[in-house]
C-alpha cells in the first residue's frame, strides 16, 4: 500500500503513545519527568487547543505536585469512574508504587504509559533501561512492552482495551530515549479505528464500577488476618485470563490494521538451537541480526517478549521451538544480590515448571545477561557476540555485553566491526550545537521525507550533558522499508559539520564510510578550507575518498534574511547532496515544505525562503582534495598535565567522548568522584569573551559577583608580584586610599567564559569619551588566548587574599573571596549559579550541600566534570544529591549528623580534657564562630587538637579524631529549585523548617521546572504561560515566604541578585549566622522565561520594581530584640507588572495565543501584586509584638 492511502506520520515514541492515550481517556493526571515529560506536555497542549477525545470531549489534564500526587489523583478519578491515565518514568514510577498496588488490588482498568528509565543508584541517569519497570513488576499491574515507535502507538490502544476487558491495570512501557525520543515513520490509527476497539459497554461498565452516592458501597476497607489472604487470592482468575485477552485484542487489532502481534513473538530458524529472549527495543536489534544470521545458515532464533506480566507459561511454551538447546535471557536491568535478573528468573522457573509438567522433555541450558543500562548502545555486533557465546558448552551466566568488566569478568567479547547489511539505507550524521537549530532542522527533514515520499525515515538525537555550548549529534536513516535499527549510526554516507571549530574538537570522520560526503559549514572558501583542517581530518578524507563540500552558511543566512540561522541553509545542502532523493525532487520537496510552513505568512515570506534555498545552492561548493595531507595533527585529548591522575585517566576519556571504553576497574565503586574537575575541561564555548579595561575600572566587584561561571576573579596584592608578571598581564592600583603599593587585578578565565554578557551589562563604569566602551567588554578571544593563558597561570600563583582580613559584607569585598563553584555547564547567563558561587565564596570551606534533583544537580553534578571545587588547603563544599522529592529531609539528615557528631566531640573533649589540656578544650568549646577571623582561629585550635589526638592511643582519642572537624561550625545548605521547594518537596521542606534545626534553604526560584523543559510549578506566576499551563496560569503564585514566616522562628529572605546584590549578600550571611532554620527565595532568571539572558539583570530590576518580587527579610533575631522582624527591602512599585512581564516570552506567548485571556489574567495578576505589596507594607510598619514570639 502506498503512503497515499495510509495515515502516516513521522513522530517520536512519546507522541505516538500520547496520541492514542489522549484519545481514549477523560482524565490525564500528570507530572514532568524525563524522558516521559513530552507525553504529558502534549496532552496539556492538545487540551488547551481544544482537541477532543474519541467521545467528543476534551480530556481534563491536571498537573500534580509529584508523581505520588498524580497516582493518587489517577486512583481517585478511576474510583469514581473516569477513564484515566498518567505518563511517567523512573523515580516517578517509584513514587506511584503504593497506589499501583491499590489500583491493581481493586481490579481497576487503567494504563500508565512509561518511558522506561534507569533508577538513581550510584548516580542518577535520565537514560533508558528497564530498572523502573522491573521495580514495579510486583504491583499487580500487567506489563506490555513496546519495541518501536509504531508499537508505542499500537500498544497504547491494545493495553487500554485489554485493561478494560480484563480489569487488570497495565503499565505500557517503551524504552526511554531510544523509543520515546526516536522519530520514526508510522501508520497512525484513525479515530474510527480507535473507537471501534473501545466499545461503549466497556467504558460504561468501568463507569458503573465507580463510587456513586446514588447507590453507595465502600471500597478500600482495612482487613484482618481472617480474610485478607483470601481477599488477595480472589483476583487470580482475572490474572489467569489476562494473557488470553491481550492476545485476543492483538488478533483483533491485527485484523483491523494488518499489524500482527503475539505475546511472545518468535523469529528465526524454525529449528533453531540457540535462542535469545529479550524485551523492548533491543528485540528489534536481535530480530534483524537473527534474520541475517539465519540467512548464513546459523540455527538461531529470538523470542521477543511483549507481555511481561502476567507471564504466561502456556503462551511462552507455545512460542518456544522444541529444538532450542541454549537460551540467553537478556535483562536491561540490574538486580544486585539476586540469583539472576528478573526475566531470567521468570524464564528459568517457567521452563522448570514446564519440565515438571512434562511439557518439555529436556531443560535447555539457560543463561542470563545484562545489556543496555542507561541507554548503553546495543548493536548487532553485540547480539552476534551473544549467539557466539551460546555455542559454547558452558556459556557464561550473569554476563554483561557492551562494556568491559575487567573486575568480575562478566563481559562477553564481541567483534565491534560486525555489521548488518546497511546497503538499503542512506545514513547521515550531523554535528551541531544545541542552540544552532541542527536537531530541529533534522526533525523537519525527517518529516518532509517521511510524510511526502514512500521512503521510511528514522531519527535519533544525542546530546551532551552541558546546558551551555551543548553539542548535538543527529542520526538520520532513510530507506525503502521500515527501519528497525534502535542503535546509533556507526558508518554514515553523509556527515555534516555545522560548526567549523568541531573539526579540531570532535572526531567526526571516523564515522564516515568509504566515499562518503562531508558537508562543512565553513567561513573559509573552497580554496582556503583545506589548509584549515587538522592533519588527521585531511588524512581521513584522502584515505576514505570522501567528497567535501563547503558553504558559508552563516553569511548565506544573513544575506538571505534568514535571521542568521544556519540550520535551514545546512538542511537545504543536505537535500541537495545526500542522494536520499534525486536532487531536483529534493529541492522540490523542500520548497513544498516551505510553502506549507509559511502559508499563513503570505507569498512574500515564502518567496524569501525560496530565495534562501536558491542562494544556498549557488553558494555550495565542492572542495578539490589534494593528494597528500599537509595539516598538523591536533590532539583532541587536551587535559593539562597538572590534572590529577583520575582526571587524566578516566575523566579525560569521558570528555573526549570515549566513556564507553572505560573499563569497570577504572570506575569508582560507590559513586564517589573527586571535587572540582570542571577546571580541567576547557570548553571554549564562546568566541567572544569578557575583556577587562584596568584604566576604566572602579573595582566595584559587580562583574565578578554576577558572573554565572566564576570566570571573572579579583585579587589585590603587593606590587612586587608584578615583577614576574608575563607580558600583557593587566593590573591597576587598588582604589583604596593608603595602599600605594597594592595592586588590583581582575582576571578573566576566557576559555571558560560563555560570552553571556552579564558582566558588561552590570558594569557601571564607561569611557567618558566613548560611552559604549565599559570597564569590561566583550572581545574576540582568539587574538588574546595565548597571552591570557599565561596571565591566568600567573594570576593563579598570586595568593588569594586572607579571608579574615576581607570585609565581605559588601559586594566590593566579596569579589576577593575564592569561588569554590566554578565553570559549571549551566546555561550562558544562568540566573541561578551566581547564588551558588556566592554561597561557595562565603562559606565554601565548611559547606555541606544537599542538592535537589533539577538544573542545579545537573550542572552541579553531571559527569564528566563537576564544578564544586576546593581551595589550596583542600577544603571545599561537600555536595550530594539524593532525589528530587526528599532534599529537605536529606539536608536535615546532614544537619542531624553535624549536630550529633558535634555533641559526641564536645562530650569527648570534656571527657579527655585532662589529656588534651583544659585550656585548649575550654577555648574550643567556648569559641565564638561568627566572624571569619573567629572561624580561622577555631580551625587553628582544632588542627592543634587533631595533632595531639594522633599521638594518643585510646579509643576515645580515635573517636574524637574522627569527629573533631565538626568543632568548626558546619554550614548546611539545602539547595534546589522551585519545583522541589514549592511542589514535590514541599511537605519535607515544611517539616525541615518546622524542625527548628540550623539548616539553610536556598531556593533557586525560576518560577518553573527549568530542567525538564519549563513546566508550571506552584511558583509560576499568574498570567505566565508554561508547559502544563499552556493556557496561562490562572492561579496565584504560592507565597512560600509568608508560609515560612508564619512559624516565627524561621529566617526568611526574598532576594534578587540582579536587583539588589547587596541585599542578597546580606541575606545569605544573616541566614547562615542565624542559629535556626533559614529560607532564602532567590529570583533566578532563566532561559525558560524566553528572552536573551544578557538582559537578565535588567529583568530582575523590573521584577522588583513592578512589585512582582518584593525584596524582604524576616529575621527572628530582631523579634527577640523586640524589633519588627519584617524588613521590606524594596521600594514601592514604580512600574506596572506589564512593563516587566511582557519583556518575557513566557508572558507574551499568551497575548499571541489567547489575547483575551492574557488581558484578563494580567489584570488579575496586577491586582494580586498590588494586594501582596499592601500586605507587606503593613507588616513592615507593625510592632514586634504583632509577630510570633520566639520561645
Amino acid at each position: 500500500m502506498s503512503n497515499k492511502n495510509k495515515l502516516v506520520a513521522t513522530i517520536d515514541g512519546n507522541e505516538a503513545a500520547a496520541y492514542v492515550a489522549y484519545r481514549i481517556n477523560e482524565v490525564c493526571a500528570i507530572y514532568p519527568i524525563t524522558p516521559s515529560s513530552t507525553m504529558a506536555e502534549l496532552a496539556d497542549e492538545w487540551a488547551s487547543k481544544g482537541i477532543k477525545n474519541i467521545w467528543g470531549n476534551i480530556p481534563d489534564v491536571i498537573e500534580l505536585q509529584s508523581e505520588g500526587g498524580a497516582a493518587g489523583t489517577v486512583h481517585g478519578a478511576l474510583q469514581t469512574g473516569s477513564l484515566t491515565t498518567t505518563f511517567t518514568a523512573s523515580q516517578g514510577l517509584m513514587l506511584m508504587l503504593p497506589n499501583m498496588y491499590k489500583i491493581a488490588g481493586e481490579l481497576t482498568a487503567a494504563v500508565f504509559h512509561v518511558a522506561a528509565r534507569s533508577l538513581a543508584a550510584q548516580g542518577l541517569s535520565i537514560f533508558g533501561d528497564h530498572q523502573d519497570i522491573m521495580a514495579a513488576r510486583t504491583t499487580g499491574f500487567a506489563m506490555l512492552g513496546s519495541a518501536s515507535v509504531q508499537e508505542a502507538h499500537d500498544f497504547a490502544l491494545i493495553s487500554q482495551v485489554a485493561s478494560l476487558r480484563s480489569r487488570i491495570p497495565f503499565v505500557h512501557f517503551f524504552d526511554g530515549f531510544r523509543t520515546s525520543h526516536e522519530v520514526n515513520k508510522l501508520e497512525l490509527l484513525s479515530d474510527e479505528q480507535i473507537k471501534s476497539m473501545v466499545p461503549d459497554e466497556l467504558v460504561i461498565a468501568h463507569r458503573n464500577r465507580g463510587l456513586n452516592p446514588e447507590h453507595p458501597f465502600i471500597r478500600g476497607t482495612a482487613q484482618n488476618p481472617d480474610v485478607y489472604f483470601q481477599g488477595r487470592e480472589t483476583v487470580n482468575t482475572f490474572y489467569n485470563n489476562t494473557p488470553g485477552i491481550v492476545q485476543q485484542v492483538m488478533d483483533e487489532f491485527g485484523k483491523m490494521t494488518g499489524r500482527k502481534y503475539r505475546l511472545f513473538e518468535y523469529s528465526g530458524d524454525p529449528a533453531a538451537e540457540r535462542l535469545v529472549i529479550v524485551m523492548g527495543s533491543g528485540g528489534e536489534t536481535v530480530i534483524e541480526t537473527v534474520n541475517e544470521l539465519v540467512k548464513k545458515g546459523e540455527k538461531v532464533g529470538v523470542l521477543h517478549v511483549r507481555l511481561y506480566r502476567p507471564f504466561s507459561l502456556s503462551h511462552f511454551m507455545d512460542a518456544l521451538p522444541a529444538s532450542i538447546k541454549t537460551i540467553a535471557v537478556l535483562d536491561r536491568t540490574k538486580e544486585s544480590g539476586a540469583a539472576g535478573e528478573p526475566m531470567y528468573q521468570d524464564v528459568l522457573s517457567t521452563l522448570v515448571e514446564a519440565f515438571q509438567q512434562k511439557k518439555i522433555k529436556t531443560l535447555p541450558n539457560v543463561v542470563g545477561g545484562r545489556y543496555g543500562l542507561s541507554s548503553k548502545e546495543f548493536t548487532p555486533a553485540m547480539v552476534k557476540g551473544i549467539y557466539d557465546e551460546l555455542k559454547k558448552d558452558q556459556p557464561k551466566n550473569g554476563f554483561t555485553i557492551g562494556i568491559n568488566d575487567d573486575v568480575t569478568f562478566t563481559s562477553l567479547a564481541y567483534d565491534p566491526e560486525y555489521k548488518l547489511d546497511e546497503s538499503e539505507w542512506r545514513q547521515g550524521l550531523f554535528f551541531g550545537l544545541g542552540a544552532d537549530g541542527t536537531v530541529g532542522a533534522n526533525k523537519n527533514t525527517i518529516k518532509i521525507i517521511g510524510e511526502n515520499t514512500d521512503l521510511y525515515a528514522q531519527g535519533y538525537f544525542v546530546y551532551d550533558s552541558k546546558k551551555s555550548g551543548a553539542r548535538t549529534v543527529s542520526h538520520l536513516r532513510f530507506g525503502p522499508k521500515p527501519i528497525r535499527a534502535p542503535y546509533l549510526i556507526s558508518k554514515a554516507d553523509f556527515i555534516a559539520c555545522h560548526q567549523f571549530n568541531f573539526t579540531e574538537k570532535v572526531e567526526m570522520l571516523e564515522f564516515a564510510s568509504q566515499g562518503a560526503t562531508f558537508l562543512l559549514n565553513s567561513p573559509y572558501s573552497k580554496e582556503e578550507v583545506w589548509s584549515k583542517l587538522p592533519g588527521q581530518v585531511q588524512k581521513q578524507i584522502i584515505d576514505k575518498k570522501i567528497k567535501v563540500y563547503v558553504i558559508d552558511a552563516t553569511t548565506v543566512a544573513r544575506e538571505t534574511g534568514m535571521s542568521g540561522r544556519i540550520n535551514t541553509i545546512m538542511q537545504t545542502c543536505y537535500f541537495a547532496l545526500s542522494g536520499v532523493l534525486p536532487k531536483d525532487d529534493a529541492i522540490k520537496q523542500i520548497k513544498k515544505a516551505i510553502e506549507k510552513t509559511y502559508f499563513k505568512k503570505g507569498p512574500k515570506v515564502i518567496e524569501q525562503n525560496f530565495q534562501a534555498v536558491d542562494a544556498t545552492l549557488a553558494h555550495l561548493y565542492e572542495v578539490k582534495i589534494p593528494a597528500k595531507a599537509s595539516g598538523a595533527h591536533v590532539d583532541l585529548l587536551t587535559v593539562s598535565d597538572k590534572a590529577p591522575d583520575f582526571v587524566k585517566n578516566v575523566t579525560a576519556m569521558m570528555m573526549a567522548g570515549h566513556g564507553d571504553d572505560i573499563p569497570v576497574s577504572k570506575m569508582t565503586v560507590d559513586g564517589t568522584y573527586p571535587s572540582g574537575t570542571t577546571q580541567w575541561e576547557k570548553r571554549n564555548v564562546s568566541d567572544l569573551v569578557a575583556s577587562w579595561e584596568p584604566d576604566l575600572c572602579i573595582q566595584c566587584g559587580n562583574c565578578a559577583y554576577v558572573c554565572p561561571h566564576s570566570v571573572i576573579r579579583a585579587k589585590f596584592y603587593h606590587e612586587d608580584h608584578l615583577g614576574k608578571a608575563p607580558e600583557g598581564f593587566k593590573s591597576a592600583p587598588i582604589n583604596a586610599r593608603g595602599f600605594p603599593e597594592t595592586k588590583y587585578s581582575l582576571q578573566v578565565y576566557l576559555e571558560d567564559c560563555t560570552g553571556c554578557n552579564l558582566c558588561v551589562e552590570v558594569c557601571p563604569a564607561s569611557d567618558p569619551a566613548n560611552r559604549s566602551k565599559k570597564a569590561i567588554n566583550m572581545g574576540e578571544k582568539a587574538p588574546v588566548l595565548k597571552q591570557e593563558q599565561k596571565s591566568i597561570e600567573f594570576f593563579e600563583n598570586i595568593p588569594w587574599n586572607d579571608r579574615s582580613k576581607i570585609d565581605f559584607s559588601t559586594v566590593h569585598g566579596a569579589q576577593f573571596l575564592e569561588p569554590l563553584f566554578e565553570f559549571s555547564g549551566a546555561c550562558a547567563g544562568c540566573g541561578e549559579t551566581p547564588y551558588l558561587k556566592l554561597l561557595s565564596q562565603l562559606f565554601g570551606d565548611r559547606l555541606l550541600v544537599a542538592n535537589a534533583t533539577g538544573c542545579s544537580s545537573i550542572y552541579g553534578g553531571n559527569l564528566p566534570t563537576t564544578p564544586w571545587s576546593m581551595n589550596k588547603e583542600g577544603r571545599g563544599p561537600a555536595w550530594s544529591n539524593s532525589l528530587f522529592e526528599d532534599n529537605a529531609e536529606f539536608g536535615l539528615g546532614m544537619r542531624v549528623t553535624a549536630d550529633k557528631q558535634l555533641d559526641v566531640a564536645r562530650h569527648l573533649l570534656n571527657e579527655m580534657k585532662g589529656d588534651i589540656g583544659e585550656g585548649l578544650v575550654k577555648e574550643i568549646l567556648e569559641a565564638s564562630q561568627v566572624l571569619e577571623s573567629e572561624l580561622v582561629e577555631q580551625r587553628v585550635r582544632v588542627e592543634g587538637l587533631k595533632e595531639k589526638l594522633k599521638t594518643m592511643d585510646s579509643s576515645s582519642a580515635r573517636h574524637l579524631l574522627s569527629v573533631a572537624d565538626q568543632l568548626v561550625r558546619r554550614s548546611v545548605w539545602l539547595v534546589g529549585g522551585d519545583g522541589w521547594a514549592y511542589d514535590i518537596g514541599y511537605g519535607g521542606l515544611d517539616h525541615a523548617l518546622a524542625s527548628g534545626r540550623n539548616i539553610n534553604v536556598l531556593v533557586l526560584d525560576t518560577e518553573v521546572y527549568s530542567n525538564t523543559g519549563g513546566q508550571s510549578s506552584k511558583s509560576t506566576p499568574t498570567a505566565a504561560t508554561a508547559k502544563f499551563a499552556a493556557g496561562g496560569k490562572s492561579g496565584g503564585k504560592k507565597d512560600l515566604a509568608m508560609q515560612a514566616i508564619s512559624y516565627g522562628n524561621v529566617y526568611v529572605a526574598r532576594v534578587a541578585f540582579g536587583a539588589n546584590p547587596q541585599q542578597a549578600l546580606l541575606a545569605m550571611r544573616e541566614a547562615e549566622a542565624y542559629d535556626g532554620p533559614s529560607l532564602i527565595l532567590a529570583y533566578s532568571h532563566c532561559i525558560a522565561h524566553g528572552y536573551d539572558l544578557k538582559n537578565g539583570l535588567d529583568q530582575q530590576h523590573k521584577a522588583v520594581a513592578s512589585g512582582h518580587w518584593p525584596l524582604l527579610r524576616y529575621n527572628p533575631v530582631l523579634r527577640k530584640k523586640n524589633q519588627n522582624p519584617f524588613v521590606l527591602d524594596s521600594p514601592r512599585p514604580t512600574v506596572s507588572l506589564k512593563d516587566y512581564a511582557y519583556n518575557e516570552l513566557r508572558y507574551k506567548v499568551l497575548t499571541m495565543t489567547n489575547p483575551d485571556a492574557a488581558e484578563h489574567l494580567m489584570k488579575h495578576a496586577q491586582e494580586l501584586v498590588n494586594l501582596k505589596w499592601k500586605t507587606y507594607e503593613e507588616l513592615a510598619t507593625k510592632k514586634a509584638s504583632d509577630f510570633v514570639p520566639i520561645a
Binding site: 537549530g437 530541529g440 526533525k443 512574500k604 560611552r771 524566553g1090 507574551k1148 506567548v1149 497575548t1151 499571541m1152
Partner: protein, 329 residues
C-alpha cells in the same frame, strides 16, 4: 448645532479626531473617546520594524532554546498555529469596531514596500474604516536625491492603494522642496487625505553624560503655525481631505485649523495631559465659539481663512514675512 464633517469620505459627528497614540491601545479607551465626542479614532501606529523584530525575537528564543538539552526539548508551548506579531494590533481593531460606531482608522508605519502592503491589507481585513500611513523617513543618506525621496513616498502610496479599498491618508513631514506639488502628486498617486504634519523625532544631547537624549515632548500650541500655513495654502487647491495635527491643546487651535481649511483636527497631547473626557470640553468650546460667531455648521466657516479666501492672499507668502519684519522696526 451641527459639528459634522467629512474626512476622506467618512462621515464624522465631530471634526475632532484622536490622533495615533497609545491611549487607544485599550479598547475601553476607544469606547470612552466615542462617548466623549471623538469624531473618529486613529489607532496607534503599527511599526513594521517592531513587528519584524518581535517575530524575529520569538523565533530566535524558540529555536535557541529548543532541542538543546536531552531533558528539555523546548520551553514553550507550540506556537505553530498562532500568528506572532501583528495579531494583537488587529485584534484591537476588531474589538474596537465591535464596540464603537465612530470610524476607526488604522495607522501604519512601515519600512519595506512588502510590509506596507501586507499590513495594510490585514488592517483592512480587521475592519478598519481607513488607514493612515505614517511615512516617517529621514533621508540620512546624503547620496539620496530629493526626487528619490519623493518617489519613495509616491511608490508607497501607489502600492497601498493597489492592495486596499479603504481610504488612505498620508501623514507626512513638511520638508519637501515643493510641499504643494508633493500634495498634488500624492493625490494623483491615490492618497485620499493628508495629515499635516508628522513630528519628527529630533534627538537632543545630554552634555553631562555625553549621550543622546531620547525623551519626547508634547506638542505645544506654538507649533501649529507650520501646519496652519500649509492647510491654508492647500485648501481648495487639491481634492484631498486635510487633517491638522500638532499643537492642539484647546478649542482655539481647533478653530484655527478649521478656519484654515482642515476637515478634521487631531489631538493626542491634550488627552494625555487632561484625560479622554477633555474631548467633551473641546467639542463644547468649539460649539460655544460657533454659537458666539453665529455659525451653525462646520462648513459655514471651514477654510474661510485659507489663502484663497482671505482678502490678502499674499499674507501667506513672502510679503507677509517682510511685513512682519518691517513691523518689528
Amino acid at each position: 448645532m451641527n459639528l459634522q464633517s467629512t474626512y476622506m469620505g467618512l462621515k464624522l459627528n465631530s471634526p475632532i479626531v484622536v490622533s495615533a497614540c497609545t491611549l487607544a491601545d485599550q479598547v475601553d479607551n476607544v469606547v470612552k473617546m466615542e462617548e466623549n465626542g471623538a469624531g473618529a479614532v486613529v489607532m496607534p501606529s503599527l511599526f513594521e520594524e517592531q513587528i519584524r523584530k518581535e517575530e524575529a525575537r520569538v523565533k530566535t528564543v524558540m529555536s535557541e532554546t529548543s532541542y538543546a538539552f536531552p531533558e528539555a526539548m523546548d520551553y514553550f508551548p507550540d506556537l505553530e498555529d498562532f500568528n506572532v506579531g501583528v495579531d494583537d494590533y488587529l485584534e484591537n481593531i476588531r474589538k474596537a469596531k465591535e464596540r464603537v460606531k465612530i470610524p476607526v482608522i488604522g495607522s501604519l508605519n512601515g519600512i519595506t514596500t512588502e510590509g506596507w502592503i501586507d499590513y495594510a491589507r490585514q488592517i483592512e481585513q480587521a475592519g478598519a474604516d481607513g488607514l493612515e500611513v505614517n511615512i516617517f523617513f529621514i533621508p540620512g543618506d546624503i547620496a539620496m536625491s530629493s526626487s528619490e525621496v519623493e518617489h519613495r513616498y509616491l511608490n508607497i502610496i501607489e502600492s497601498i492603494k493597489l492592495s486596499v479599498k479603504m481610504p488612505v491618508a498620508v501623514k507626512l513631514n513638511p520638508y519637501f522642496s515643493s510641499m504643494g506639488n508633493m500634495a498634488l502628486r500624492m493625490k494623483n498617486s491615490g492618497a485620499d487625505a493628508l495629515v499635516l504634519f508628522n513630528r519628527f523625532y529630533q534627538p537632543d544631547f545630554d552634555i553631562n553624560e555625553l549621550v543622546l537624549k531620547t525623551d519626547l515632548h508634547y506638542s505645544e500650541p506654538g507649533e501649529i503655525r507650520l501646519p496652519l500655513l500649509w492647510i491654508a495654502l492647500l485648501y481648495g487647491k487639491v481634492e484631498l481631505s486635510l487633517a491638522a495635527t500638532t499643537g492642539v491643546q484647546s478649542a482655539v487651535e481647533v478653530v484655527k485649523y478649521l478656519l484654515a481649511g482642515a476637515d478634521v483636527v487631531m489631538t493626542a497631547s491634550s488627552l494625555y495631559k487632561n484625560g479622554i473626557p477633555y474631548l467633551k470640553t473641546l467639542n463644547k468650546e468649539l460649539q460655544d465659539w460657533m454659537y458666539m460667531m453665529g455659525f451653525d455648521n462646520i462648513d459655514a466657516f471651514r477654510g474661510s481663512m485659507s489663502q484663497q479666501n482671505v482678502s490678502d492672499p499674499t499674507a501667506f507668502e513672502r510679503a507677509n514675512y517682510i511685513r512682519i519684519l518691517e513691523g518689528m522696526k
